[in-house]
Symmetry: C2
Subunit: 194 residues, 2 copies
């Protein structure tokens, strides 16, 4: 279910730019409104209520803030996957490839094997969902570790891009707090109906 | 003043490796112990009590978690400087150069001019202080913006490297929650006496 407070904030302070760019850098991923993040964290906690979560997994850099504030409500540690250009990494990491929509490049993401264990029940948290590559990459790390993927929570899903459909079809329990159905610089953002 | 709980955690879970590396990736900068971060945030809030802070400034990626949890106690937004390899960035950012001790490279760090204003009273927060380049770079962004630098809070200062002295000599009100006086793989960490 979408989150009214967040949708209002996106309408008020989000900037739609050419090339399907939605800039939310005044409150989400450059300057960060911590009180909004607290409401987002509470909402993820409500939406995944009853699921046993032992760890929150995200990806640097812009997922870290949301994951950490959210983790307060779940009372579990955060692990963030690191991006690296180095393809040959010795031994003790899980790794996956991730293409970035925003940056038009490919990174290898890694997590130390010490911090994902078969007994972990992992919730993935990220700021944006566009083509889904980041979440799919993170879910591969969870799989490689033999851990259980509880679900994925994203703050803003670009519903007009294929990531959401792809991830739901994979059977991942995906919760997006705002789903943008369409947007353009002249008319701004229209959200999907709940 | 140093923080006992943090020093004990570093003794228990920190790993000293050759090349003056102190790995705290099990609780601070890969896997993150949110309840420890809450105590760190409270401690920064205590140590900067009475100072008016309007914004917390940090640098991606590993500063973000600490800055965000700390910002809860100050009830102010976080701004994180982004690292970029691009030297020619058009117009609307403040920028500074930062050498990384850990990664042995130089980055340009940038902050949008929209998020640092002359009326801001800025507290810089970071995880590590070694040669001081990150904090000096961040302080240049504050200066460029014409904002006021209230001080800097770091979680772990490597007291045997020159950053702490340099920053204190610049007149910056620096608070380090743990100051490592010396360390080596055989004997671990020894902290500076308060």
């Amino acid at each position: 279910m979408q989150m009214q407070l967040l949708k209002e904030r996106i309408q008020k302070d989000g900037l739609v730019e050419d090339g399907d760019i939605l800039k939310v850098d005044s409150f989400l991923n450059h300057q960060i409104d911590i009180s909004l993040l607290e409401e987002i964290g509470k909402e993820f906690n409500r939406q995944f209520e009853g699921k046993e979560v032992t760890k929150i997994l995200t990806i640097e850099a812009s997922g870290i803030a949301i994951a950490c504030i959210t983790a307060r409500y779940f009372k579990v540690p955060v692990v963030f996957a690191k991006k690296t250009k180095t393809l040959n990494i010795a031994g003790e990491v899980y790794k996956a490839s991730v293409e970035s929509f925003t940056h038009k490049n490919t990174n290898t993401i890694i997590v130390s094997k010490k911090f994902l264990k078969p007994e972990d029940k992992v919730l993935i948290i990220d700021d944006f969902l566009a083509n889904g590559k980041a979440i799919i990459g993170l879910s591969k790390l969870v799989e490689e570790a033999g851990a259980t993927l509880v679900g994925a929570g994203v703050v803003i899903e670009k519903g007009f891009q294929p990531g959401g459909t792809r991830i739901r079809e994979m059977g991942i329990d995906l919760h997006s707090l705002a789903i943008v159905e369409s947007m353009d610089p002249a008319n701004g953002v229209r959200f999907r109906e709940d």
